[in-house]
Amino acid sequence: MTAHVHDNINYLKTSKGLKSWLTTVDHKRIGLMYLASILVFFITGGLYALLFRLELWTPNKDFLSVDQYNNFFTMHGVIMVFLVVVPGIPGALGNFVLPLQIGAKDLAFPKLNLTSLYLYWLGAILAVISLLAGHADSGWTFYAPYSLSKNPAVMWMLTAAFLLGFSSILTGLNFIVTIHKMRAPGMTWFRMPLFIWALYATAIMQVFATPVLGITLILMLVENFFHIGIFDPALGGDPILMQHFFWFYSHPAVYIIVVPAFGIASELIATFSKKEIFGYKFIAFSSVAITVIGFLVWGHHMFVAGQSEVADTIFSFLTFFTAIPSAIKVFNWTTTLYKGSIELRTPMLYGLQVLFNFTIGGLTGIILAILSVDIHLHDTYFVVSHFHYVAMGTTMIAFIGGIHYWWPKMTGRMYNEVVGKFASLLVFVGFNTVFFPQLIMGSQGSPRRYYHYLPDFQIFHQISTIGIIILAVGLFTALINLLMSLRRAPDAPQNPWGARTLEWEFAETPPVLFNFKETPVVTHGPYEFAKEGA
């Protein structure tokens, strides 16, 4: 293609105006629009959490009614799962970084990428309509027959989730093709950064698991409208079938949520230790291994739901195998630090937090696979806490770390390092103060989704509520710090972290429209810090 004059200027400046953003097919701009949208919903979902946590200060009513509480935890769950953590890292950072890291000019299907974004927005609009249509109160799991009560808000929510699933499938498809077909010369599979491997494994799950959610949601909607009797026991249906369908997607979805975070953690830990990652191939394959195992363990969400004992036993057995690749990742990251040259910049502080939180998230997951113990812990705060150690403590923390890491590349600005570190410390303390007490409260037998609880558990709830205030202050500080940097003149160097991956070594800060002035030729691995300057 003939080169235009504007091809060689920074992608933020090639064209101006709202329309140029809404019609762009540039993966970098689409990534930024995802980022902005996801942060808006992260704040929304977080506010819901803040409000119902405050309500839980005492065992009885404080300022929310029981219906409001039920609605708030549902909105928190749906927004955070379908609008934040599932699309989060792939949509925002994956979109921006993936073509840059493999040396491509764009994703394989730029228009499809924009379509994904619009589907995401459409899903988001429907979620907002659901909010206005009344109280969706089914929980994010939409269990039948409770969710079949013809509540219009629940039906809008189901439609929203369907569109968001479609968006997720198209993003995954785009990523897989791009990784297979668009790598720069010399970018062999084992020279790909681990973030790419992680996105690749995630994309496979998005393409193969999400359609099952799609059909589940279609059936739920049809069931709500026409009462067919597939899931509704009053009509001869089977509510457990709905759970099988739902978890066949939603268990892989947990890995869709967490695997990209592993990728970011690998980038951060290697770069800020100036060290080749320990066991590169193992980390790469463990992402893929988790993907494969992830498809076979959905039944562990149903140990008390009345599936057969044999099924429970098989699902428990398979679930233990997810522990192995997860454990080895933790060991590999820790070993990567050994004899490194470690610099505790803001992104690295988040990287280390991921390591800390994921160790707790992983360990608390294994105990839930022990059948006899799970019977006691199922549907208690222990599970809530385990899930948040993974989805928030691992995924969102990695996401925030990733935003700090790639922020200079995206915007051309450096943020205030001292404020950034301070915020990350608050986030660390706040997060663990929220969720650690919930582990104890859960194993003591406190059920989840409880508006009204035993007075014995009040102390845990109160510590947790104090924690969320610290967490909120930390997150808010981090956000303000990032936004303030936009007021400055561009000051970020091309490679402020001394990283070895293409987006830092070859692409300008911020990158030009088609990413590279000339196609990069890759001659080294992503973390070869020994050869620096050679």
Binding site: F278, E309, D379
Partner: protein, 314 residues
């Protein structure tokens, strides 16, 4: 203080508790050890290998160590396989009830539990069982999925409409233990509590005799008060004048109340009985038509007793 209660786990009161807690504690210490090793190593490396000059490179580039990698694959694998066996054994024990188990039928409905003893011919809203006696609960729901959880017994099972799901236990000490609903079931999910009262065999026999005719020796209003909690009215209707899911019963007798469709009606015996049997017909203004009909659930005697109870609430 109960010695079987720990920081992590509630008191133990069933034959399962020991093995579940043993597995829990075993795993707890394994994970504390793993966690401590990881955190100490991270902290040590971060301090020891901190970058001192901006251009400082790593002192070694180690990408592979077969011994380490084999070890840290093998050890977790052995541990998790052992955990699998421990968990499976405990679980199968929980699923297979002994043949001498006493049967109790459990019904979950929004938002109350009821227990029927088919052999003894009694019903109750609080589970009463003899100590050291295996009990098998045959559970079903009349509306949505609930879940029956007794933390002190370390056992739990979903209660599913349209099918029976069972659970068994053997209590090891007398006392009153909390029961929760743990599957989200709508507005008053977190109020769907009851208790299991573990008594000696003699006390159990005495209780059965008394429960066989709960109205015996009581006035209709006193019997109505028992039914008020036993039949689940308590979940939505208060008797202290505060507003619940449904109208309060206090002071409602004999007054005229506005209905959703604009009419008014006087709360008398006919209206109260109609509201029990066809609750959706004349809904009091400001409330949702969500009450389940009690047609066929209440006997005439029970209806009369509830009417008498409402009448007594001035």
């Amino acid at each position: 203080m109960d010695t079987t209660k720990s920081v992590w786990l509630p008191e133990q009161a069933s034959t399962f508790a020991n093995s579940v807690d043993w597995a829990f504690n075993l795993y707890l210490w394994i994970s504390v050890a793993f966690f401590a090793i990881i955190v100490v190593l991270i902290a040590y490396f971060v301090v020891k290998y901190a970058r001192k000059r901006p251009d400082q490179l790593a002192t070694a580039q180690i990408v592979h160590n077969t011994f380490l990698e084999t070890t840290w694959t093998a050890i977790p694998l052995i541990i998790v396989m052992a955990l699998f066996v421990v968990g499976m054994k405990g679980y199968w024990n929980m699923r297979v009830a002994p043949s001498n188990a006493m049967q109790v039928d459990v019904t979950g409905r929004k938002w109350a539990w009821s227990f029927d003893y088919p052999k003894e011919g009694v019903s109750t809203d609080t589970l009463v069982v003899p100590v050291h006696q295996p009990v098998r609960l045959r559970m079903t729901s009349t509306d949505v999925i609930h879940s029956f959880f007794i933390p002190a017994f370390r056992t739990k099972a979903d209660v599913i409409p349209g099918r029976y799901h069972s659970l068994w236990f053997e209590a090891t000490k007398t006392g009153v233990f909390q029961v929760f609903c743990t599957q989200y079931c709508g507005t008053n999910h977190s109020y769907m509590w009851t208790a299991v009262k573990v008594v000696t065999p003699d006390e159990f026999q005495a209780w059965v005799a008394a429960a066989a005719d709960p109205s015996k020796g009581k006035t209709p209003a006193e019997f109505g008060e028992i039914l008020y909690s036993q039949k689940g009215c308590v979940a939505c209707h208060t008797v202290d004048g505060s507003t619940g899911i449904g109208p309060t019963w206090k002071g409602i007798w004999g007054i005229s109340v506005p209905l959703e469709d604009g009419r008014s009606v006087t709360v008398d015996e006919a209206y109260v009985k109609k509201s029990m049997n066809e609750p959706a017909t004349d809904v009091v203004k400001g409330f949702q038509p969500i009450m389940p009909p009690f047609q066929g659930v209440l006997s005439d005697k029970e209806e009369d007793a509830l009417v008498a109870y409402i009448q007594s609430l001035k």
